[in-house]
């Protein structure tokens, strides 16, 4: 059986507001799905529901044949759901290397090892260092995360997810606020991950050129609802996307 991630009628209400409304969608390996939609469409909330930061009011999430709707965030991460956050979410006073080492440690299942000093675990350190080199942060490894530039923090955020070696990569606007010359580093990383056809990649992104170049499929959320799903060219051209996402009124309504 191949790996699948599926949401069925996924819904969450905050009081009277329905942030994600009956979203049913299946994601398959080797496919990079871009999730687009205007601000407040529920993209990040949809991510939070999948990775367990929020619990669904209704509906279910199936991952790898298991219903994970009731699982906590740590359990979902251990099952293979990796998440990079939109608002940078790091360990501010720990160094860059320590940040990544924690993720590497989590991936290796080292949770309650308290009798050995950490530096004895050379395997973890080596792995953390190689990931830092991948995201071009090798020279910043001794710096506290809080002292990094915004772009470097975004890269570290991505590095933490890569270090988890997940089966599902969830990027939430990975290039937001990055300088022009930093963007390619992250995009190349995503492209590399795509090469490995066994991973499911979800990407929330506003930049349409990024979406066009990377996505195999686009789904559109609007007011919490799934309004379009298909190949990039088709979805971008559809009137509903023109209206919902690009803010162009469809000709029929004029």
């Amino acid at each position: 059986m191949t790996l699948t991630l599926e949401t069925r009628d996924l819904t969450i209400r905050f009081g009277g507001h329905v942030a994600v409304n009956n979203v049913s969608c299946t994601f398959r390996p080797g496919e990079l799905t871009a999730i687009v939609g205007p601000n407040g469409a529920g993209k990040t909330t949809y991510f939070n529901l999948i990775s367990g930061q929020l619990r669904a009011s209704h509906g279910s999430i199936l991952f790898d044949g298991t219903d994970i709707t009731q699982h906590s965030a740590p359990l979902r991460t251990r099952a293979g759901l990796g998440r990079a956050f939109q608002l940078t979410n790091l360990f501010p006073n720990l160094t860059v290397e320590e940040n990544v080492r924690l993720a590497v440690q989590a991936a290796s299942g080292t949770h309650y090892d308290l009798l050995r000093p950490w530096m004895v675990r050379r395997d973890l350190i080596a792995r953390a260092d190689s990931i830092l080199d991948q995201v071009a942060l090798g020279s910043r490894r001794g710096v506290a995360a809080t002292a990094l530039s915004h772009g470097d923090q975004r890269k570290l955020e991505v590095a933490l997810m890569i270090a988890l070696e997940p089966k599902v990569f969830m990027f939430d606007e990975p290039t937001a606020g990055m300088s022009i010359d930093e963007v390619p580093i992250v995009l190349n990383l995503i492209a590399q991950l795509k090469q490995d056809r066994s991973k499911i990649i979800l990407l929330v992104e506003h930049k349409m050129d990024v979406v066009r170049s990377l996505a195999d499929r686009i789904i559109v959320l609007h007011n919490g609802q799934l309004v379009a799903d298909g190949p990039p060219a088709e979805v971008i051209a559809s009137p509903i996307v023109q209206e919902a996402y690009l803010g162009v009124a469809p000709k029929s309504a004029a």
Binding site: P74, F91, P92, L94, T95, L102, P117, W118, L160
Partner: protein, 361 residues
Amino acid sequence: MMILSGDPPRSRVLSLLLVVIILALAATPFLFPGAKALNVAAKICVFAALVASYDLLLGYTGSVSFAHTMFYGIGSYAIAIALYGMGPNWAAVATGIVTGLPLAALLALAIGLFSLRVAAIFFAMITLAVASAFQVLASQLSWLTGGEDGRSFQLPELLRPGTVLISKSLFGFEINGRILTFYLVFAISALMILALLRVVNSPFGRVLQAIRENRFRAEALGFRTVFHLTYANCLAALVAASAGILNALWLRYAGPDTSLSFSIMLDILLMVVIGGMGTIYGAIIGATIFILAQNYLQSLMGVAAKAADEAGLPLLPGLLHPDRWLLWLGLLFIASVYFFPTGVVGRLRKAGGGKGAGSSH
């Protein structure tokens, strides 16, 4: 370096200070005559370990507990009740240890699993409530605990002052049971501090720091933080109870004022803050400064007041009168917290340039 778990003091002044403190403590029976000096030295040892275990919670996980003296008290009372009830023998010491330590750990486990799931403030409130209840319980169950009077007991033969192990004729010093007890306290406290240093520098310890920094993100990495926090809470409780055992053995007494009172809890908090949170070494520095001030400030002020009086200075003799020592102690703490917000250790490490990589603390 392995004995320090790869986490050296990282400041020359701090290293020197620690070496001086440890050597002075180790040599107290020979250097400083009199019972008071030895009592102060033993108290510093016990509190260094107790404060270090509190630092594991406050400094490394960021959780504020008010139940630390309760665990300290559980250790004290367990050994006191056992020795009081069973008589001064080693079986009683063993009984006290095997009832006190598991009791402390179980209680810490229950409190942790119950309250560390949610916001940190809830844990603080629960520990406060449980500790208050325990204090009342200890004073009410007077048939067991001796109530407000506490329990005095005798130590096994080997540890009594009257037991001469090495007579004076051999080295010029008499090694008696009292001195042996002191070294027992010293060695076990030192071992516990080294063990805590190992724990905070282990992969597990790094997760604790991660939880302190950003619990949400630690969860998102796959760490089930409630178990890490509970585990840390149990370890801290075990060390606190062990420190309680040592303290009771040293005092040959356990009572509400020496082990359970909230004023001790405040002392612990102050020592952690003065020494420097999240450093472990801060516990040694904080305990030393605090306990020395507590014991010698008064007599020091007496000398100063007298000198000022003889010099004919106005106002000063009154201000420096030994009865005002608590005022000066208070001012000293306000000043130290104000000038060293990161504690003595944090201050010294910053002054030393912080050459070491590792944690930012």
